[in-house]
Symmetry: C2
Subunit: 242 residues, 2 copies
């Protein structure tokens, strides 16, 4: 079984169309490359009760949860409060984070700025190195801010700890109508029920009209399924195999 | 109260990082421009039981639900089956859709291709005009395919029926630290509790470091909140107002 993950994007700015979420496309690609299976991405508002409900559901359902957004000093930064509440924890100030903030802001630091040193009680700092970019985690929930550049910088520092057995992907590019091969795909799944088999039509590619994707964590299983599939498909329809 | 909406993206290809979802960014922008408030976007696999659970939850919670993906002739196209099941309906073949498909595919039409004439019993075709691109709806759920070009073509045909009172947006571009203005934002919300107030930091813009967004369906309310805010902010920090 692959490690599973859920991604929670927290931000009114995404739901109101002001900002296009770049974080879930990034995380999903990174996690897939690490062998982790993302099973859900949800985008919700900066609303404590909604975040609490969703963090509880995702944390119970998946091995790993990644949240982005709602970290900072202003009224709409409620993620830490909500994640603490989801696990029945208090919010505490972390001494090492407070030290980093005091060095950065100096004497004039405001109470709002000090909020960025807060974390759920029992939470932990993940990753080695630069303490100005710590990743806060609680249980199986990893908490990221919303700014894409910062998400990348932080995730790169901790990504290797999520590495699992990789997915093996083969792709078959076809020129045909999906409806002509539907029975063949059912036959493949009948024989290889654990295969992750995708069929994706395209209307804008001159070269092909369908891409089939065959995936599994077992290279042998994918190769056997690919041979079984190719034996059934009309060779005329196959443009190329990758 | 604004009309509310949930968006459900159905597709293993998004969750496995093969395809970046273009449909939710498109729908969210369009709906916002129409005055509809999107409150949740969820991406889930092509899995009947997961789709059933999610469609029920979204349909009960929001005024409108838009799904994309899982429409077509192959094994992974299970959206119609799942949405029918979510409402306890059978799947039936729609005569007008069947006619369109038979004209398109001719004598050699396959059973798989005819699946694209299926809809939940009690569903309806929405929108006027070109019958080759009907939008199928059941209750408050509008069902779209996954291909972005087709989603756009279909949505454009029916968008006007969702039009609500528009959101009025004002934006204040600032050069300051968010932590210095957090108290001012709380004060604005204390006085204007129904305001949608966003504060977004940027680390890559030479001109400004924060954008504040003020929104409401009442133009007067937004203008009053904007004046109240500007009276509190240091004029030196305001780069421009839009």
């Amino acid at each position: 079984m692959a490690k599973t993950a859920g991604i929670l994007i927290i931000g009114n700015e995404v739901l109101s169309g002001k900002v296009t979420d770049q974080n879930s496309p990034y995380l999903v690609r990174e996690l897939r490359a690490l062998g982790v299976e993302v099973q859900r991405i949800t985008t919700i508002p900066d609303d404590v009760s909604v975040i609490v409900e969703e963090v509880r559901a995702l944390s119970a359902r998946y091995d790993l949860v990644f949240t982005t957004g709602g970290i900072g000093p202003t009224h709409d930064d409620v993620t830490i409060t909500a994640i603490a509440a989801a696990f029945g924890r208090l919010v505490v100030r972390h001494p090492a984070l407070e030290e980093v903030l005091r060095q950065h802001y100096g004497q004039g630091i405001t109470a709002a700025q000090l909020r960025m040193a807060e974390m759920p009680e029992g939470g932990r700092l993940v990753g080695e190195g630069d303490p100005s970019f710590p990743v806060v985690a609680l249980e199986n929930v990893y908490i990221f801010p919303g700014i894409p550049e910062v998400v990348r910088r932080k995730f790169e520092r901790i990504r290797d700890q999520f590495r699992d057995r990789p997915f093996i992907l083969r792709q078959v590019f076809l020129r045909c109508d999906e409806g002509q091969i539907a029975d063949d795909l059912y036959a493949v799944l009948g024989r290889f029920p654990d295969l992750q088999l995708g069929s994706y039509p395209f209307i804008d590619k001159p070269e092909y009209t369908v891409i089939l994707t065959l995936e599994s964590k077992s290279p042998d299983y994918v190769e056997q399924a690919l041979r079984f599939l190719l034996d059934r498909l009309s060779p005329d329809s196959v443009v190329r195999i990758e």
